[in-house]
Symmetry: C2
Subunit: 516 residues, 2 copies
């Protein structure tokens, strides 16, 4: 049930996930990244903040038309470069994939799925949310892509752990209530007398009373924060059952779920493009020029030369002054090249990670009508990990849930099933939370196993350690530059692809400017 | 800096606000409201859930065309009643007031303000957000009003207390970090050995490590959750300054701010109609029929008779079978009537509360571009209380902040100023958080003091105690029924007006059905 991002972050930096954030932070300090002053000076990129100065007349072949490749070509194009993108898949976008009715999803060693969603229903099969500090927000602004709030934390959604389902607001109120009670009572009996003055103890108690909604004797006796069977209106309402004992609340194991959005990547609110994440792909591709993107072109060889780069693909050969290679590293490693064994070894270092999602289309939005859940996530300790509710088109007739979004062994388990069996399993699990309607109301579904997507073969990668391979690939090899989320500390985020693309094209352009 | 709703709730039930929720909850139990089982059975109203059975041919005069009056007329109209609404103000809606360019806002004993906002900019001067469990959500659905997410809690917004400004994410991480450390260390030294088994202590510690992002020795040493000067990308980023000591964090006094959305009324996410809250008024008025709403009609007398009700107003007299009176109680109490002194005394019991807001229009959304704040609230201990950022039209050119939303003495202080002086004061305060741009970038503003709005004269009311006056007015007096948020436990929420209106018309209709 661990949040995907905690996993990512933990995997990325090679330092334990939960409890390791402090360690990571400490490690940053050890690396000489002296903490700076209060972040009032944070100055994010604006249109024009990133612009390559001077015009480059060089030609560039970009391998891969995912978000990294498109961003590289977009920025190079603005600076006058003549780019060609080679994309092995049938369309641009890579993992930024939004599925709609009429689409067809194929996978390696598996049957194709026909998507039959109704008008207006879509499924962001890959990335689905943006944090406000991320570069993807700037590209949305620059490209005129309307964005809306993505609800990443919903008090009204559920937490399902150890076979029990409660509202997130209830789980949170109970855990906070008891934590506050324990610390308040410890304070009352003098346990903090050596650490805190009486004044500071009073300040702490003032906070704990608010934090836990404690009674006058610092007992946690439940709280309206837990929610109601019938909310207050003409009368004071009907509260839901009194909380279990401290023991029962601890045994419920809701701790992971209610801290899921505490990290800097997941903090509420988050955002999404209106109408589907692939608006980013569509607008980047338009800006780059569709005629520059050659789809169905699988790269078969990369040769860096004194005066350029030669790239061969299934259907031909291209020579350009420079190359930006944005394919997944594990696939790039298999392509014959003359960049040396160190590059091959470096490309083989990151390990692809499985991840999967299923989109479940329903004919009524019972989660809004009956559960009063508008957007957000139900956290579970089941193999589905999460259930996501749509943050858009509230009160529309149809709607789409994400019935699982899982990683590692759970993703592998689902990935190995047929689409029918994935759906069946996801429905069986979700029914534990939402009851029979979860199964009976389904109109259609489509599931993706990213490690089974041709020319991608992984949800993202993890670096066993951020070592010299990582930094080696952040620099060009001959006339070949590498880019992708996999070369950043924002793995599995589009912002990572964009940051990396900007870095690669900046280095490339500086070289061109120096040599001209 | 106390949240408006904590105030409201506390005022409403006449039991202390902060720390009193547990007491209120306990009081509910004492009233015999036995807590029911887990709220899986919660079944909110749906289109048709509320419908008066049978047709009533009676005539009804509705006093006031605010949300309560419109809802009453709407539901009565569906059941066949012939309604006339008398509204003293120039237009329907009452406190549901959205201001746009071209509007003019007058106030008692003060100058009028011309609203000069640009195209698409609006200011919800009254209610501005809906909780998902509230009846206003159902009316939006039933009336086809599109809704969108209202961001009520933003990790990226600021907390300004004791002269210091930090991001909400930073304030939260630090307070949670130290609380977790204190309790974890108390556990480590055996302080909980009598309360918890070793297994339960391990469960608690597991939670505390997540909750506080503690290091291996259960120290809080900062966390990436605090945010960054430069977020991770190609490198691990630049964290913001290390946290202050426990003493310093307690002294900062951020506790109220970071628990502001813990209550059931404020829990994230919340919602708003697209384009302005007055969509609810517009669609209700359309459904009722504009021709049934007589504006500029100030009621001067109410007489209940054996065979009907006679109401006089500035410009005439109307007789109907029944009356639904939805005016604010303190104004209703002043209108001559024959309902008896007990009714007058009851109407005089609730005390009107001052509340005010200012809308500040800017030519650029610097809070998005520079502060990366998309929606949400900055909590302060200044007299402005909150700054709200818009949750809609992200990346639009212009935007409107709510520069203060305050109550009680702060609202009275601002209300007593001229609009220019209110603006000046609000800008001086907001500048402490956002710097000079807060003042220099302003295009226009408009401020409202609800206690100075003619025919309303208060933001809402508080009942010194929920006593027999409250319940007396929930029942008809002769042929006069009362309705309004002020007769519910949802004071200051439109849902209260709607719940109360439903109750009144249900009672009225049952009487008509019985007598026919």
């Amino acid at each position: 049930m661990e949040g995907a991002v905690l996993t990512r972050r933990g995997l990325l930096v090679g330092i334990g996930a939960v409890g390791g954030a402090g360690a990571m932070y400490a490690a940053m300090g050890a690396l000489g990244l002296a903490p700076a002053e209060q972040d009032k000076t944070f100055d994010p990129p604006r249109p024009g903040d990133f612009s390559l100065r001077g015009r480059g007349a060089a030609t560039v072949v970009v391998l891969g038309a995912g978000v990294a490749g498109l961003t590289a070509a977009y920025e190079l194009g603005k600076a006058g470069y003549d780019c060609t993108l080679l994309e092995a898949r049938a369309k641009a976008g890579g993992r930024n994939l939004t599925l709609r009715g009429g689409d067809r999803l194929t996978e390696l060693n598996g049957p194709a799925q026909e998507v039959t969603f109704g008008e207006g229903v879509y499924f962001n099969a890959g990335p689905a949310r943006l944090a406000p500090w991320m570069l993807a927000m700037d590209y949305c602004r620059e490209l005129g892509i309307p964005i809306e709030t993505f609800v990443n934390n919903n008090a009204q959604a559920y937490v399902h752990t150890n076979g029990r389902t409660v509202r997130a607001r209830t789980a949170r109120a109970d855990m906070y209530g008891y934590v506050a009670e324990l610390l308040a009572k410890a304070t009352d009996v003098g346990a903090l007398d050596r650490k805190l003055t009486k004044d500071d103890q009073e300040r702490l108690l003032d906070f704990l009373r608010r934090f836990g909604d404690l009674g006058p004797k610092h007992d946690y006796e439940g709280s309206p924060r837990r929610g109601f069977v019938k909310y207050p209106a003409l009368d004071t309402g009907t509260p839901i059952a009194l909380p279990g004992s401290l023991r029962e609340v601890l045994a419920a194991g809701t701790g992971r779920a209610i801290t899921n959005d505490f990290g800097h990547e997941q903090a509420t609110p988050m955002f999404q493009p209106v109408g589907g994440m692939d608006a980013i792909v569509t607008r980047l591709a338009e800006a780059v020029g569709q005629d520059r993107i050659r789809t169905g072109a699988r790269v078969t060889g990369i040769t860096t030369l004194d005066d350029g780069v030669e790239v061969t693909w299934d259907g031909g050969r291209i020579k350009a002054d420079y190359c930006v290679a944005t394919l997944p590293p594990h696939l790039l490693a298999r392509i014959p090249h003359n960049l040396g064994t160190q590059i091959t070894a470096a490309l083989k270092t990151p390990v692809p990670a499985a991840t999967g999602k299923i989109g479940l289309e329903y004919g009524t939005r019972w989660w809004e009508l009956e559960d009063r859940i508008y957007g957000g996530v139900t956290e579970t300790d089941l193999d589905i990990t999460h259930i996501w509710y749509p943050s858009h088109d509230y009160h529309a007739e149809r709607g789409l849930l994400v019935g699982y979004y899982n990683t590692a062994e759970h993703a592998e388990l689902y990935g190995a099933l047929t689409p029918e069996d994935r759906r069946h399993r996801a429905l069986t699990q979700g029914k534990k939370i939402h009851g029979e309607k979860y199964r009976t109301g389904l109109l259609s579904s489509v599931s993706i196993a990213w490690d089974r997507q041709e020319h991608i073969q992984g949800g993202w990668v993890r670096w066993p350690a951020v070592d010299s391979s990582f930094t080696l690939l952040q620099r060009p090899s001959g006339r070949v530059y590498f880019a992708g989320d996999w070369l950043t500390h924002l793995i599995a985020w589009q912002a990572g692809s964009m940051e990396s693309a900007r870095s690669a094209v900046t280095q490339l352009h500086e070289r061109v400017m120096r040599s001209s």
